[in-house]
């Protein structure tokens, strides 16, 4: 899965990785707001320059980062083409540049900041602790539940694929198992003295 790579990247060692999550989050928002508020070529060129330097400092594979940022392109391409056809090619290019650069900035942030670091920052910024804890749980069990879904998909492929109602049965079973898993997790947490937020 895609986020596994980002997770590994985020545990690297570089000056950018060492920077505190709060500073990186502020820088990310700053760049995004600048691109959004002043969408001109000087802003875009300055932002690309800064992001390229940051990517170099991070020591992560540059093309890898670029290809992850390209995940925004399918959505963007549709609207860019529409804008182009309606006779505004310059605006279309700007749209692609803006959304790609914004995506790249977000990738760079996620690829140099482990999830626990930025969720702790969110918690310190007085984000609702329920929401932050849910994000952490979600991330922790993403691999586990996704693995289960993957197994179901393989099994179904072995039987010749899902019919509509059979796929419904699989998702229902996945739901029930996730629910039981959550109950088990909660009991295990109580046994270890959990009181609302992770310590």
């Amino acid at each position: 899965m895609h986020h596994r790579v980002i997770d590994q990247w985020s545990r690297g060692v570089s000056p950018l990785h060492a920077l505190s999550a709060g500073v990186k989050l502020a820088a990310l928002l700053g760049i995004l707001i600048a691109i959004s508020a002043a969408p001109t070529y000087p802003t875009i060129i300055t932002a690309s320059g800064l992001l390229t330097i940051a990517a170099m400092v991070s020591g992560l594979p540059f093309t890898g980062l670029l290809s992850r940022a390209a995940f925004v392109l399918p959505f963007t391409a549709i609207f860019a083409l529409l804008t182009w056809w309606s006779g505004d090619p310059e605006r279309a290019l700007l749209l692609v540049a803006k959304s790609f650069l914004s995506g790249f900035a977000a990738v760079l942030f996620a690829a140099t900041t482990p999830l626990a670091a930025w969720t702790n920052t969110l918690r310190r910024c007085r984000f609702p602790s329920t929401l932050v804890t849910v994000i952490e749980f979600l991330y922790r069990y993403l691999f586990v539940v996704a693995q289960q879904a993957e197994t179901m998909r393989w099994a179904a492929r072995g039987r010749g694929g899902f019919r509509f109602d059979a796929a419904g049965g699989a998702v229902g079973a996945l739901f029930a198992r996730s629910w039981q898993r959550a109950d088990g997790i909660h009991r295990a947490m109580l046994a270890r003295g959990f009181q609302g937020t992770p310590k």
């Binding site: 399918p74 309606s86 505004d88 849910v134 996704a146 998909r153 694929g161």
Partner: protein, 304 residues
């Protein structure tokens, strides 16, 4: 095999599309609403820390469930989006939190939706989508029809809101592209409704403890739903005033423009023409309409 995965006609707006006034407004709306929902304490306090791991695992479930493809004919497939399912299983508040968490992770780790656009995406999918997915079952009791309707409405409202926001930001989507987009949303909505129905039926067959019994609607809950719906109507009216095209397109698509009765009603053109200053008319009309619909629903709906 063509993998025309409907939900990849995504409703996640990336950064770079919305203008600052639009994303800022929606951030300013969504953040306090989510914070309020997240800080609410359930009636039984010990329930809260039981629900936190549950919500987390359910978020992981939403991601994972999207890996299972539902064949919908012609080699195309769809998958569960999950807003309505979560709202019916966990309640709308918890569902909104789970989907917000999903959207935040999608924005940062999957480049699915922007960071500044998070407010917009949360508003469209985690708030409006969940609310509309939940409303039919809440008002009429849970049965196959209301579940289907909820799934369909939740997708439709998310899509239409996204279109309206893009439109307000000056991203030109008019004429045929807008019609195609609405058609896609409608198809995705039908698929989502059908998937939600089969999944809930299969959970029922498993006779799972997760099934919430439809409890009597308390006054408090009703007020919360009305309040949320009112906010939604206000925002919708505000957006509609900025983007009349797409909403009129929607109207013409569902046949509302063929000599509709309501052009003669006091709410014609979403404006209360006889009262109040200019700026208050559309929201007032929206609220009046809501009150009307709500009254009809509570008169017609089964009391439980």
């Amino acid at each position: 095999m063509i993998h025309a995965n409907y939900s990849n006609s995504r409703m996640h707006i990336p950064d770079g599309f919305l203008t600052p006034p639009v994303w800022l407004t929606l951030d300013v709306i969504s953040v306090p609403v989510v914070a309020w929902v997240a800080r609410r304490r359930p009636a039984v306090v010990s329930d809260l820390d039981r629900r936190v791991p549950l919500m987390g695992v359910m978020g992981a479930f939403v991601f994972a469930a999207q890996m299972i493809n539902f064949p919908v004919g012609l080699g195309a497939s769809g998958h569960l989006l999950g807003g309505t399912l979560l709202a019916l299983m966990l309640g709308p508040g918890a569902a909104a939190i789970v989907l917000t968490a999903v959207l935040i992770l999608q924005a940062l780790l999957f480049q699915d939706g922007g960071v500044l656009a998070l407010g917009a995406n949360i508003f469209n999918m985690a708030l409006a989508g969940v609310l509309l997915g939940y409303l039919p079952s809440r008002l009429f009791g849970r049965n196959m029809v209301t579940i289907f309707l909820g799934g369909m409405l939740s997708v439709l409202i998310s899509g239409v809101l996204a279109l309206a926001e893009l439109q307000t930001s000056g991203v030109a989507i008019t004429g045929h592209p807008a019609q195609v987009a609405l058609l896609l949303f409608a198809l995705t909505g039908i698929v989502e409704g059908a998937i939600t129905v089969v999944v809930i039926r299969s959970i029922e067959r498993l006779n799972h403890t997760a099934l919430r019994s439809t409890s009597a609607t308390s006054l408090h809950a009703r007020l919360a739903v009305i309040g949320a719906a009112a906010v939604l109507a206000l925002c919708g009216a505000w957006l509609a005033s900025g983007a009349p095209d797409s909403l009129q397109l929607l109207a013409s698509n569902v046949g509302l423009d063929a000599e509709p009765v309501w052009t003669h009603s006091p709410l014609a053109n979403y404006e209360v023409s006889s009262l109040g200053p200019e700026w208050a008319r559309r929201p007032a009309a929206g609220l009046l309409g809501l009150a009307f619909v709500y009254t009809m629903f509570s008169l017609g709906g089964k009391k439980r």
